[in-house]
Each structure stands twice: as structure tokens, then as C-alpha cells.
């Protein structure tokens, strides 16, 4: 793994420092991605989803009766 990341940076620089910087970058990117995802996941579920599930309920009930 490390070699893969190191390959992206010049050899003459201190590899451990570069690698650390890249790992920090990776973590920052990970945080951004999670935040984007979590922001949506934490939104209240729109009414249309509840309506849809209600319709599913009714369809299920109708199916049982017939």
C-alpha cells in the first residue's frame, strides 16, 4: 500500500513525511465524502416516501382481501 502511495510523490523528498501528508489528505477526502453522504442521510424523509409506503400497505391489504 505504502509503495503505491509513495509512487505518486518525488523520491527525493522525505518519503515518510510525504506518505503522512498523503494519508492525511486521504482522511480529509474520506471525511468530505462521508459528510456529503451523511448530510443526505440525515435529512428528514420526504412525505412522498411515506405516501409510497402507505400505498404499498393499501395494495397489500387489497391483495389479501381478494
Amino acid at each position: 500500500m505504502m509503495q503505491q502511495w509513495n509512487a505518486a510523490v518525488p523520491d527525493e523528498d522525505k518519503p515518510s513525511e510525504k506518505a503522512r501528508a498523503i494519508r492525511a489528505r486521504q482522511r480529509a477526502i474520506g471525511r468530505e465524502l462521508r459528510r456529503m453522504y451523511d448530510d443526505v442521510a440525515h435529512e428528514p424523509v420526504p412525505d412522498e416516501f411515506m405516501d409510497l409506503l402507505k400505498q404499498i400497505d393499501q395494495a397489500a391489504a387489497a391483495g389479501k382481501k381478494s
Binding site: 510525504k18 498523503i22 477526502i29 465524502l33 459528510r35 456529503m36 453522504y37 435529512e43
Partner: protein, 209 residues
Amino acid sequence: MPAPGPVSQTGKPETPDFKSELLSLVPFLRAFARSLTGNPEAADDLAQETLVKAWANRTSFVPGTNLKAWLFTILRNQFYSDRRRAWRQAPWDQDAAEAIPGASGGQFHAAELSDMVRALRRLSDEQREALILVGAGGFSYEDAAAICKCAIGTVKSRVARARKTLIDILDGAERLDDTDRPAEGEAARDIMAQLDKLSAGDPSKKRGG
């Protein structure tokens, strides 16, 4: 009066539990759909289609297995099949995409976010979805592989390549001493809005014409 009890006359698991589980997973379906479509309305349509499909196919879900992964698989399949159909029919509506509030390029207020969005845009679908499932959705490589219908090793390499591509792009555009600057909540929402626009209007992908 409908028959009470946890099991229906057919012996299938009765619906309330399954339905409430579906409901509890809607937020994640929306988040995944948003990351795939980059468009809030298209994402919610996709998430709703997924619910309908999941319900119609509920008897094929094996209780005790990962319902979230099962739903994500349905959603992903639906996404790609919808998109193939849409591409045959019409190009994306650029005007509609640009009409999304907050999606205007003029509202970028952090160069780094813009770079981030550009970097994400350059990932392949396969890399982006793998990165989102593992990096944001919290799925194991194994579950992500099942969702994407590929080998675990393939997911690992897609995630690794996605990360490497992002870093290569971002490091090319920025100095490393910017590394630890995090995106705060408001900025992240802006990223999402920018993603909405970019993925809806990406000419290299959607307008091959």
C-alpha cells in the same frame, strides 16, 4: 377484520417488520441514490423505484441477511438500467441541471471544494460507487463487492484507484500544506450542490454526440 399476527396465510414473513425496516433504510437509499445520480430529484425517484421493486420482490430477500446491501443492489441495478434507457432517449437537460438552486459555478467560495468536485468528476462510475459504498456508506469490501457484482479484490482496487486519483488530482492542484483543512458542514452541502450540477451536466459522459 384483517388477521393479526406476525405471519401471513402464505407463511411468508408478515409485512409490517419488513416495511418498517424498509422505512428505516430510506435515508441511506436517498444518500446512495444522490451520490449516484448527483441530482436530488432523480435520486428520490430512484430511491422510490427501489422501494417499489424491493416490495415486489420481498419474498426473494433472505431474512437475516443484509437488507441494506440487498436494497443498495436493487437501487444500483435500477440506476444503471434507467440511465441506459435515458441515454438512448434524450441527453440530459442542461438547463434544468443549471436551474438547481445553489448549483451555479459562480457560487463556489472555496477553491479546494471546487478541486474536490473536479476530482470526483473524473472518477469512473465504478471507482466512484466503490469509494462511496466503502468510504461513505460504511460497507465492507465484501458487501460492496456483492452490491457491485464484482470480486472483493476488484472493489479494493477500485477504491484504491479512486483514492489515488483524487489525491493525484488534488495534490496537483494544491500544496500539501493544505492537507488537513477539512470541509465543514456548509461547504459539504455546497459540494453536493456542485456534484448535482456536474454529474447532471457532464458533457464528456452524457452528450456523446
